[in-house]
Symmetry: C2
Subunit: 244 residues, 2 copies
């Protein structure tokens, strides 16, 4: 049986991330409780912002450029607390359940290719690195390691530029990632391409090498859509920014 | 200027809905507060079930057949309370914002077709009818009426069978819907088709009539995916059941 291959998409890190990191760290003080200092999110903001997050995560919102002012506290609380970890855990669990199915039924699945491939995005650890709130997102790292134990070969696909290879590899190693099959970064010819196109082209390249892309994970819809898409796609939570 | 056309997808009503309606009405009593009688959802269930709902609404979960037992109270609370209404409101607002953009920039948009079309799903009112908890989902009905005020011609597309036309029209009228352009139901030749295929074929038929499908709304991913997809798709909330 041939090894299962799993393509891992990495997050595009750039000005967007940086400016977000700053905005999220500079918490408004006006909503703090005068005695406890805890942030207080108004009930109607909480209701609205949960719905805003729904619309962002389902891609209903389409392109959006910044977190609504009234939702900055909400998003900070979301990503700093249990809910972000829990959402990531559930997605990782479902991704793993899927790839296990592929493993079990592999020889009966009738794939034309004799190599398999799948996309996974371990990216969200990067923003924690940016926020100096390492370690890696636990669910992503655990998933990555479980994929390796299953014999899944892992590709990494990031919107970063080739000149950032060293710092990217360093970040990955720092967060506990190792032994991927290949790390794709933007080559000069990829400059200026929308993420959806760039990542689709890289997936097509992988397919052209004979892999069947079984799955794909990413915290952006642009990691998952376009062409040469995976058989299953897994949207990881990210209410912090949007990459087209 | 030609009128803008908006395709409205209706929910598939069938055994799935019925069995859900029963299961959601039969509330477990074990979680009720002994004094107040209010339902109590364990904190860890609430955290998990919010993440389960994330994975369902993003389609990360893929096909699923039933609400996890530990999440039945959570889902009941979600659909009975403010959050379901708020999520629906936000999606309706974004859908409307989009169609307004199309209206404003219409003559500059350079569409090849001289007719426009868009998909919208007002469906969720149906499950309230099933639950005898009418009226219609307010956000959907408001959106429907605003579309009409904008001159948008509305198509309805449901997974129901043609023999259910009368009861469907009656339901729609009861909930306040009127003056749609056309209501599609499954014809005998559509029997047994997965919803994604059936709805894609109907969209293609609309396109073949010269419409450009600008948008699409539905509470199932199978309302939105496949071929002849709209330029923008809007996933309405539905953590209650999955239709492939």
């Amino acid at each position: 049986m041939n090894p299962t291959h799993y393509v891992v998409a990495l997050l595009t890190l750039g000005l967007t991330t940086t400016s977000f990191s700053q905005s999220i760290i500079q918490l408004p003080t006006r909503h703090r409780h005068p005695l406890t200092g805890n942030r207080r999110i108004r009930a109607d903001d909480s209701l609205y912002c949960a719905s805003w997050r729904f619309s962002v995560e389902t891609n209903d919102a389409g392109a959006w450029s910044s977190i609504p002012a009234r939702c900055q506290d909400y998003v900070k609380e979301y990503v700093s607390g249990d809910r972000y970890l829990s959402d990531s855990d559930v997605v990782a669990g479902e991704s793993l359940a899927f790839i296990r199915t592929v493993n079990v039924s592999a020889e009966d699945a009738g794939f034309e290719s004799d190599k398999w491939s799948e996309i996974f995005d371990s990216n969200t650890f990067n923003e924690w690195v940016d926020l100096a709130e390492a370690p890696a997102l636990p669910a992503s790292l655990r998933f990555y390691k479980e994929l390796q134990e299953l014999g899944v070969t892992i590709f990494l696909l990031t919107g970063r530029d080739e000149f950032q290879r060293n710092v990217t590899v360093k970040n990955l190693a720092y967060a506990g990632y190792s032994n991927w099959e290949r790390l794709f970064l933007r080559e000069p010819s990829d400059e200026g391409k929308l993420a959806t196109l760039y990542k689709s082209e890289k997936r097509l390249q992988i397919e052209d090498e004979g892999y069947t892309i079984q799955g794909s994970s990413g915290d952006q819809w642009s990691d998952l859509q376009g062409f040469a898409v995976a058989k299953r796609s897994f949207k990881l939570p990210n209410p912090m920014y949007y990459i087209a």
